[in-house]
């Protein structure tokens, strides 16, 4: 431990600037790093042996990252900032390439793919890292000064490595094994291939950093945190990431709502209990007791526009609402495009949301005429067919962009919904600036609602649920 390079010298020697950049880039990525936390991180550097790169990463993370969702952003930036400065901090850049042996240089693509197959089969982490290095050298065709993003190189490398064919081969090998072992292997192969993809993308980034410097690479990598991703433009992996955050979020919200209900439950003074308590303080009523008031849970109706433009939004909101269903006396839902149909049972019978969406698309009769959103017709049909079942305990939530494709507005339907229920909320996945432009009738409908909220991402959805009374 004697040769630990002192962080003090390092900080004095210009690394301070690197850290300042690192912190500000973290903030740009949406990780809220306060001054105290930045100071803590610097302080941590004094104590952690700089050679121990893993310890350094986790130590810095402990001081800077206070939410699990921010970890990925931190890790990616850490790799960017602390690989060029490898000479000062750790031995990052140098650890990467594992020698593939003398034949490493002149491999043909198919030989390299064969090596990849073997490495994935065995799950050797070092071999995978080495392979990523070799594959990027061989296939990415990175040239200095080409104005393309890292994802282009990653894509190119994966295509030449025939990643999809590799997975097929691995899966059929797993199938041959069969039984439980086969299932376990199949899952492991999938995970290892993901791992290889990550390695390749890290390798590409490392090279880009060497060429363009950390600031530029970091800027290109800036991506919104899962809860800030816009519902209207979800990429496939973002969809999966978002999917995973819904369940924990619902759990948190459920606790929040239950607590809110309980906290407001203190009713009138419970005289008998107070007197009984006062015996231990010599008759002085030092500890008053209150009767709990019974507060009934609201009934929830969710009306979701599931036409193409807003389908993803409807899907997440329905998923969240169903995860929260224990907080409501009863949850019913309707899907509509220009016709409307109750989908409560379809949602309840489904194993997961993907299946539920499929069965709604196949079974619910949501198309009446032409299959373009018609809020006026859908809402008036709802009022006519189910309106009588609304009570003063019902909360109605309408999900959609209020784009009526220039059909008749039938504003009276929303007014009628509002009259018969306790509250009507409208959640719109469009940015507020677009409201009431073109065929959007939000202002007309919104006039009868308790409130209209912009709901473009999970954060806004969460804030809405939190403020529900």
């Amino acid at each position: 431990m004697s040769d630990v390079s002192s962080a003090e010298e390092v900080i004095g020697g210009g690394l301070f600037g690197v850290f300042a950049d690192f912190f500000s880039e973290l903030r740009n990525a949406g990780v809220p790093v306060s001054t105290t936390e930045a100071l803590d991180a610097m302080e941590a550097l004094r104590h952690i042996p700089l050679e121990d790169r893993e310890a350094l990463k986790h130590g810095l993370a402990a001081a800077l990252v206070k939410q699990e969702g921010h970890w990925r952003a931190f890790e990616a930036l850490f790799e960017v900032y602390f690989s060029v400065h490898a000479g000062l901090v750790g031995a990052a850049g140098e650890e990467g390439p594992v020698n593939l042996g003398p034949q490493g240089e002149g491999l043909t693509p198919s030989e390299l793919a064969e090596l990849a197959y073997k490495a994935l089969m065995e799950g050797d982490a070092e071999a995978l890292a080495g392979l990523a290095h070799a594959a990027v050298s061989r296939f990415a065709g990175m040239e200095p000064g080409r104005p393309v993003g890292g994802s282009y190189y990653v894509f190119k490398t994966l295509r030449q490595l025939q990643a999809d064919a590799l997975l097929d081969r691995l899966l059929s090998a797993a199938q041959e094994t069969g039984g439980l072992e086969g299932l376990v292997l199949a899952e492991e192969y999938r995970r290892r291939l993901e791992r290889l993809k990550e390695e390749i993308s890290a390798e590409v980034n490392r090279r880009l950093v060497a060429e363009r410097g950390p600031e530029e690479v970091a800027r290109a990598m800036r991506r919104p945190l899962p809860e800030d991703v816009d519902f209207m433009h979800l990429a496939r992996d973002e969809l999966a990431a978002l999917q995973r955050t819904v369940e924990p979020l619902a759990r948190r919200l459920a606790v929040h709502m239950a607590r809110k209900r309980r906290r407001r439950n203190e009713g009138r003074l419970d005289f008998r209990a107070t007197m009984r308590r006062s015996l231990s303080s010599g008759g002085a009523p030092a500890d008053p007791r209150f009767k709990a008031r019974q507060r009934s849970k609201p009934e929830l109706w969710v009306l979701a526009d599931i036409s193409g433009s807003v389908a993803a939004f409807a899907r997440f909101t329905l998923q969240l609402v169903y995860a929260l269903s224990s907080q409501f006396a009863r949850t019913r839902s309707w899907a509509f495009i220009d016709g409307i149909d109750e989908v409560t049972d379809l949602l309840r019978g489904a194993d997961d949301m993907a299946q539920a969406v499929r069965s709604i698309n196949n079974q619910a009769e949501v198309i009446w005429n032409e299959g373009h959103s018609d809020y006026g017709h859908a809402l008036s049909e709802l009022v006519e067919r189910w309106g009588r079942e609304l009570t003063s305990r019902t909360t109605v939530i309408i999900l959609g962009d209020a784009r009526n494709n220039y059909h008749a507005a039938h504003t009276w339907a929303v007014a009628e919904l509002a009259r018969r229920s306790r509250q009507v909320w409208w959640l719109n996945p469009e940015p507020q600036a677009y409201w009431d432009t073109g065929d959007s009738l939000l202002a007309q409908y919104g006039a009868h609602c308790t409130g209209v909220h912009e709901c473009r991402n999970l954060r806004q959805l969460r804030l809405f649920v939190e403020q529900l009374p």
Binding site: A44, I48, A55, A62, W71, Q175, G282
Partner: protein
């Protein structure tokens, strides 16, 4: 920077390096990964509390217990719940004893002034220290575990802040009690609500997730008596498969251990789909999860 480096109060550091932490934790029967070791190491050096977050059953509480064991410290535990207040967390005056004292005064009727009496009943013998005060006042080394801190209301969190940032407690009648040595503090959270920024800022953050296959295999081998390495391997890999499904409650480490123990008791030496399905209820707690998993285990690769 000088002011900050004194944060640990000039106390001798407990550990030499993150690796040393991992080594001694292993000695105490806890298999820590790089992240945990680094954070525990820093917590000692910086004199800061550690906020440990993660799903239930990943060994959050056990980490604190093991750190206490390996440093030979006393473990003081504050279990949080909704409605926890000062009287249960910090200290309380013993009203009943004070009342008795006043009544005894009337009986003996000795000429004591009220001031003397007041001083007397607000003194040490009438104080009931609760976990936080106890941890601050303890003469020997202490590990303070504040368990499930996400259960208290936001307002109650403020109560913890004074203790966690300055390691002191003010008792109006007695004055401020300062810690003689900085305890290692662990707060655990199941993330049922967002903790306040102020609290998070004061803590080092450690997220404990389900362990990787290799670490879990080691844990199973260390904790389950008489398990064959081959079975342990099958168990943890199958659990990894089950965790990859979309479940309400994925199996935790403790459930993996329960499952492995069950299989050993049943005399299973090789795990196949049938055995796995018939024992799933040990691993999973929700009926829908069990159905989901057994459906998955009956399929073939495709």
């Amino acid at each position: 920077m000088t002011a900050l480096s004194n944060a640990s109060g000039g106390q001798a550091p407990r550990f030499d390096s993150p690796r040393a932490v991992a080594g001694s934790l292993r000695g105490a029967g806890y298999l820590a990964d790089d992240g945990m070791a680094a954070v525990v190491f820093l917590a000692d050096r910086l004199g800061k509390p550690v906020l440990v977050e993660g799903p239930a059953g990943t060994g959050k509480t056990q980490l604190a217990k093991s750190v206490a064991e390996m440093t030979g410290s006393r473990l003081i535990r504050l279990q949080c719940y909704e409605g926890l207040d000062e009287a249960k967390a910090l200290y309380e005056w013993n009203y009943k004893k004070q009342l008795l004292r006043i009544q005894a005064e009337q009986v003996t009727a000795e000429g004591e002034t009220w001031e003397q009496l007041e001083q007397d009943i607000f003194s040490e013998p009438f104080l009931m220290p609760r976990p936080l005060l106890e941890a601050i006042r303890a003469p020997g080394p202490v590990v303070l575990l504040i368990d499930e801190v996400d259960r208290v209301e936001v307002e109650t969190e403020a109560l913890l802040l004074e203790v966690l940032s300055d390691y002191q407690v003010s008792v109006p009648e007695l004055g401020t009690v300062r810690a003689t040595q900085i305890p290692l503090v662990f707060l655990t959270s199941n993330n049922t609500r967002e903790l306040s920024e102020a609290l998070k800022r004061r803590c080092l953050f450690l997220h404990l997730d389900y362990p990787g296959t290799e670490r879990e295999r080691e844990i199973v081998l260390a904790k389950v008596e008489g398990i064959k390495p081959a079975l342990a391997d099958q168990v943890v890999r199958t659990v990894a498969l089950v965790r990859s499904l979309e479940l309400k409650k994925p199996p935790s480490v403790s459930e993996t251990l329960d499952w492995a123990r069950t299989l050993v008791l049943l005399g299973v030496s090789h795990l196949d789909a049938e055995v796995a399905k018939s024992t799933l209820q040990v691993l999973l707690k929700h009926q829908s999860d069990i159905q989901r998993a057994s459906k998955e285990l009956s399929t073939s690769v495709g």
